[in-house]
């Protein structure tokens, strides 16, 4: 689909240095400053799916909106597809697509009308815009209801229209803010396929997500964000490898979890532990195979009832936990 398919390896598509943004909000008489993004450095290579993983309020959307020229950064620089964000936002706009977290279609318009207009706003001629709209509708399996008003679409259909709108002008980079939030598992799987297809067409895809499995399965590289800062960056595999050892998850009653925590935290082979809301513990150990029998003995010896015990390889959540001291699933 892209005119300029293959990229040179290692070509940088997005480079940011020290990107910052604070918001001032008024609560009653006080004004509070929220440091939404606090110095973000990113390097995104051409043709990759780059994931921004982080909890609510981490600053993902704010970063994206800065990169998409919607809000001006308070500080820092960025180069996007070769254009300077601060000096030449007009050129950045021509080269990127952006799909907002909260949707962007108008109830009373049809998908086809929206697509044709969107293409024309990029300076594309009427006939070419119509041709592209027809093609995009087919590519996103929207042809069947292309001429129905957007308000009649399901959530998943509407999300597909929005993504089609974001790429109708064949940008070099597309920013997708939580493309799969609110979709059922099947629609999510479809959306992943569609995002992979964009990459196959030569596009660089920058997505945000708070789904661990999405970051893991879909993204070539990820940056983990928390409180406006990037706390880790790399391929999912590398990030997980950084955490040495195994994770042992023991299932306990909520009532006995506290006691077991005290007990096991004292064991020298447990490097760190985390309590689970539903009852139980996640223990970080050097080697699961030797740790499990010792854990069993200790818990049994104290007369606590064990409901389950599982051995895991570290997940991205464990990476997040290591870097921030909190679990992504809880925040």
């Amino acid at each position: 689909m892209m005119a300029d398919g293959g990229h040179e390896r290692g070509e940088v598509m997005i480079e940011t240095r020290g990107l910052r943004k604070s918001f001032r909000s008024r609560a009653g008489r006080e004004t509070k400053t929220v440091d939404a993004v606090r110095g973000v450095d990113l390097d995104v290579a051409a043709g990759e799916i780059f994931g921004f993983l982080g909890p609510n309020g981490a600053g993902k959307t704010t970063t994206l909106r800065m990169l998409a020229t919607l809000i001006e950064p308070d500080g820092g620089q960025a180069t996007i597809a070769g254009a300077d964000l601060r000096k030449d936002p007009g050129e950045v706009r021509r080269r990127i697509g952006y799909v907002a977290q909260g949707g962007s279609t108008w109830d009373e318009s049809t998908a086809r009308e929206e697509l044709v207009l969107q293409a024309r706003l990029y300076g594309i001629s009427k006939t070419e815009a119509q041709r592209r709209a027809t093609r995009a509708l087919a590519a996103f399996q929207l042809t069947e209801f292309a001429d129905r008003k957007c308000k009649t679409y399901s959530g998943g259909q509407r999300r597909r229209v929005e993504i089609a709108l974001g790429i109708i002008h064949e940008p070099k980079i597309v920013f997708l803010d939580e493309p799969t939030t609110g979709l059922d598992p099947q629609s999510r799987a479809h959306m992943w396929d569609e995002i992979r297809r964009l990459r196959a067409d030569g596009m660089t895809v920058f997505i945000t997500t708070h789904y661990l499995d999405e970051a893991d399965a879909l993204c070539d590289r990820i940056a983990i964000m928390d409180h406006g800062e990037v706390v880790a960056e790399g391929t999912p595999t590398d990030l997980k490898r950084e955490i040495s050892g195994d994770v042992v998850q023991v299932g306990l009653d909520v009532a006995t979890t506290g006691e077991a925590e005290k007990l096991l935290a004292a064991e020298e082979y447990v490097s760190r532990l985390e309590t689970l809301e539903e009852g139980g513990l996640r223990l970080f150990v050097d080697e699961g195979a030797t740790a499990i029998p010792r854990i069993l003995r200790r818990v049994d010896g104290a007369g606590l009832e064990l409901r389950s015990i599982e051995l895991h390889r570290p997940s991205l959540d464990d990476v997040f936990l290591t870097k921030t001291g909190r679990s992504l699933r809880e925040s």
Partner: protein, 251 residues
């Protein structure tokens, strides 16, 4: 030219969406007709006009200016709905001209106002209103400028306050004194001196006077060029300010 092309694209879309909504079209035509049929008959005795046609000469221009002001001032509500749907943000990531985002919308409002104005004028002709075509066109220019200004201001304010709850009282607060102090419904000739003094500071009062002069066939009346100039300057300022809000609005 990019600005003209972009404006045309936005205008087309907005007009298309308006025409698709039959309720809106019906209300837009029906409301002014009601004023004309149900309110105007009270005027001849109230204004002490010698004939019904004389009464219309005073009332019709006032009604048209009223429609231009209100038609424009409340357009911001539609924009807030668009803002909420994310349509504005989606436009703002494209290279489309920010001025065109405003002008396309405001011109749609101007056109729909002019359609209303033509309907009312034609009806009034049935009631023996007579006005020269040249004067009428100049009066329409005045109306177009008023609608351009009020709709631009309404859009700009909508982008600033971002909520219907704030926009509604704000627009009402603006509209009320503007309405009362412009002599729109009844000429200020009946007003005491102090009221006339305040009204001199209301630009719409000049616009109404000018429009009335045009309907009376008095094109050389100073109020005509004065009204047109005042409104044209304000319209330009309103458009400039509102286009800046499109360029910088956050969320």
């Amino acid at each position: 030219m990019k600005l003209a092309r972009d404006t045309w694209l936005i205008f087309q879309r907005q007009l298309h969406l308006l025409l698709r909504n039959p309720v809106w079209v019906f209300v837009g035509v029906f409301q002014p007709v009601m004023y004309l049929l149900l309110f105007a008959p009270l005027l001849k005795p109230a204004l002490n006009a010698p004939t019904q046609a004389e009464a219309y000469k005073i009332f019709v221009p006032g009604l048209l200016v009223l429609l231009a002001i209100f038609g424009g001032l409340f357009q911001g509500f539609g924009l807030i709905a668009e803002l909420r749907a994310g349509v504005i943000e989606r436009s703002r990531v494209t290279p489309v001209s920010r001025l065109a985002l405003l002008l396309g919308r405001s011109l749609r409002d101007v056109v729909s106002l002019l359609v209303q104005a033509v309907i009312i004028t034609l009806l009034a002709l049935l009631f023996d209103l007579r006005v020269f075509i040249g004067d009428l066109l100049l009066a329409y220019l005045m109306l177009a400028l008023i609608a351009l200004m009020t709709s631009a201001v309404s859009y700009g304010v909508a982008l600033k306050v971002k909520s219907e709850d704030a926009l509604a009282p704000l627009m009402n607060t603006v509209a009320q004194p503007v309405l009362l102090l412009s002599g729109i419904l009844l000429p200020l000739a009946f007003a005491p001196g102090w009221l006339q003094g305040i009204a001199r500071w209301n630009p719409f009062s000049w616009a109404v006077d000018g429009t009335r002069a045009l309907f009376a066939g008095d094109i050389s009346n100073d109020r005509v060029w004065q009204g047109l100039t005042i409104i044209a300057v304000l319209a330009a300022a309103g458009v400039y300010w509102a286009a800046r809000q499109f360029a910088r609005s956050v969320r």
